[in-house]
């Protein structure tokens, strides 16, 4: 049996925060919910753990004692030490002393927090706080681990460590749901749900999402200044100016999406990657054509 949301609608005041969103969270796998600010990622996860009540749809989750959750605010006690935070989480979930010490030692060793046992939660760096929070959520070996933007504002090394923890949990049989605003992290998931303004733009495995990219993607390397078409450099001025929203910059190059498969003049065909897929899903949504 898998956990997750099926066709869930959540209203926050007058705003429809989630509109028919489905987030399957399979056992032994990572589901990544990707979206920008205000896309509804946190609401999704809050509905999954029972913090917000859906207006309609189905939520499947294990009982509370078998869920691990890290809110976007981290959820560790800033005025308790690392060791005291661990002790509280263990007591809350009824993890016995021996088991607690064994699991805590493993998690602390993996996260490098074993050197910071006596430091207050509030004195840890942002990355260490996130690692502690994920470690605490894993302490009772939950069936479902729900992490709200665990890597936001974290340095690349700590981010890699966090993902090692998350992947390790999934490999150990835990169903994991992770929200992130970093598109490149979506490819780490077994399943990905793209959200925008509370609606699903795309859903499936990263490969499925890539395969489903409509039209063609092109690249205009090294074009300086504004949109190539508008500047009249690489692509015909008329073509690009008519569709300025379909251009975006990545590094030094411009990328372009042609829904009809006909790339503008000067654009080299490119194999879409996951970043492109997300951008194209958003552009297609903006244009009014869902996916």
């Amino acid at each position: 049996m898998s956990w997750g949301l099926a066709d869930v609608r959540v209203r926050r005041g007058r705003v429809l925060a989630l509109d028919g969103v489905t987030v399957p969270v399979g056992r032994s796998g990572v589901t990544v919910v990707v979206g920008g600010d205000g896309a509804g990622k946190s609401t999704c996860l809050q509905a999954l753990v029972g913090l917000v009540e859906p207006e309609s749809g189905t939520v499947r989750r294990p009982p509370k004692e078998r869920v691990g959750y890290v809110p976007a605010t981290c959820g560790i006690y800033p005025d308790l030490t690392v060791a005291e935070n661990i002790e509280f989480a263990a007591l809350a979930y009824g993890v016995g002393r021996g088991e607690r010490d064994r699991r805590a030692a493993r998690i602390l060793g993996r996260t490098g927090l074993d050197q910071a046992l006596r430091r207050l939660g509030g004195q840890l760096s942002g990355g260490m706080q996130r690692k502690l929070a994920v470690g605490l959520a894993l302490l009772h070996s939950p069936e479902l681990l729900v992490l709200d933007e665990p890597t936001t504002g974290v340095d690349p090394v700590s981010r890699a460590e966090l993902w090692r923890l998350i992947s390790g949990a999934a490999a150990g049989g835990t169903a994991v749901a992770v929200a992130t605003a970093y598109v490149n992290e979506a490819a780490r998931g077994e399943r990905v749900v793209l959200l925008e303004s509370g609606r699903m733009l795309a859903s499936g495995s990263p490969e499925e999402i890539l395969r489903a990219v409509p039209g063609a993607v092109g690249v205009v390397p090294g074009a300086a200044g504004g949109v190539p078409g508008a500047a009249g450099t690489a692509a015909g001025a008329g073509t690009a100016a008519a569709r300025p929203a379909r251009w975006w910059r990545r590094g030094p190059a411009w990328r372009v999406w042609a829904p009809d498969g006909e790339l503008p003049e000067g654009a080299e065909p490119a194999e879409p990657d996951f970043d492109d897929a997300v951008m194209i899903a958003a552009l297609a949504h903006e244009a009014g054509g869902a996916r």
């Binding site: 869930v8 913090l51 009540e53 309609s56 939520v59 509370k64 009824g94």
Partner: protein
């Protein structure tokens, strides 16, 4: 500078509670406290006993309000009435010099009664019968004796309401309340867990205040400590419940402090700590009757200074218990909503289904 002024006004405009505090509160406080703040005692509950009770009662004029005339009773009944708070002045007749007993815990009433007796004697001239005056429980009319039992309660309102509310709001601000909500706790576990430490600290605080009050100011403790403990425990539950209640309607520590202050101030002025409740205008006196400190002061002064037995304190104890139930029930209901927003309403939404296999 103007940029800062404009920014400050914009921020202030969005913080409606602070604006209300700044504009409305002073006006409300002025009106309420203007009517409440009065040292003029107009009615002094009086009991007259002994064979000449009827004649003596007929002589007594305002501010003496004779509630009971019992020619068959003697001094012990008169003392009981004072101890139990039924009367502030008791006149015992049937002896060469009528004995006037006064409850020294009611400072302003006693001062007014002494003045009124003096005036009556001057008006009657030589015809006035000489009376013996005895002030009970606080013969020296020492202010600190009356204030310390009340101040102990006031300090507890402060500690209980403010510190508890800050404790819960801190969790909300740190985001750990959300974490608590998904942990396998019942709402009641969380509330009891949050309140218990403050209850213990506040109880120790109370004991400390009473002991220091007795040591430094010589305040006696004449009654049964068990009665005091019962009253104090109920009072603490009310104040801690108010703390939780304040926290559920406050998003940050600033708002919690504002609200706690709004709860604290009326208790300073309207609970009978400073101004006698009986001299307040009827329009504001009802506020006194919903303040827990009013009842705690009655209990603490009664037990500490007058050895009032529990049989005479059932009313304030019962009302404190009622307040405790109401405040805690409200606090729990609101706190539960914070912890589990969907709880209780999920059933009403047939379209939503939450599946949690055992």
């Amino acid at each position: 500078m103007w940029a800062v002024v404009a920014k400050e006004f914009r921020e202030l405009r969005r913080d409606r509670r602070t604006v209300a505090m700044m504009i409305l509160l002073p006006v409300v406080l002025l009106i309420v406290f203007g009517y409440a703040a009065s040292f003029n005692v107009k009615d002094i509950p009086t009991v007259v006993v002994g064979p000449g009770a009827r004649q003596a009662a007929a002589l007594l004029r305002a501010p003496f309000q004779v509630n009971e005339v019992d020619p068959g009773a003697g001094e012990p009944v008169a003392r009981d009435r004072l101890r139990d708070g039924r009367a502030v002045v008791a006149v015992v007749t049937g002896r060469a010099r009528p004995l006037v007993l006064m409850d020294g815990t009611q400072l302003f009433s006693v001062q007014t009664a002494e003045g009124a007796l003096g005036r009556m004697a001057r008006q009657a001239g030589a015809a006035a019968p000489p009376v013996s005056l005895r002030i009970l429980y606080n013969p020296g009319l020492t202010t600190s004796w009356v204030m310390v039992p009340g101040l102990a309660g006031l300090i507890l309102v402060f500690v209980g309401t403010l510190i508890t509310s800050l404790g819960v709001v801190r969790e909300r601000q740190a985001g750990t309340l959300e974490q608590l909500a998904v942990m396998p706790f019942r709402a009641w576990d969380v509330i009891a867990g949050k309140i218990a430490p403050y209850l213990i600290v506040a109880a120790l605080d109370l004991a400390l205040v009473v002991v220091v009050g007795m040591g430094l100011f010589g305040v006696p403790f004449t009654g049964n400590p068990a009665v005091f403990i019962v009253g104090a425990a109920l009072f603490l539950l009310v104040t801690l419940g108010m703390g939780v209640l304040v926290s559920t309607v406050s998003q940050n520590q600033g708002q919690a402090i504002q609200l706690a202050f709004m709860i604290l101030l009326p208790q300073v002025l309207l609970s009978g700590l400073i101004f006698p409740v009986s001299s307040m205008a009827a329009g504001v006196r009802w506020i006194s009757y919903i303040l827990p400190l009013t009842y705690f002061i009655e209990i603490s002064r009664g037990v500490m200074l007058k050895a009032t037995p529990i049989s005479a304190l059932w009313e304030p104890i019962g009302l404190l218990a009622l307040l405790a139930v109401v405040v805690l029930a409200l606090a729990i209901a609101r706190f539960r909503r914070d912890l589990a927003p969907g709880a209780g309403r999920a059933k009403a939404r047939a379209a939503a289904r939450e599946v949690t296999p055992a």
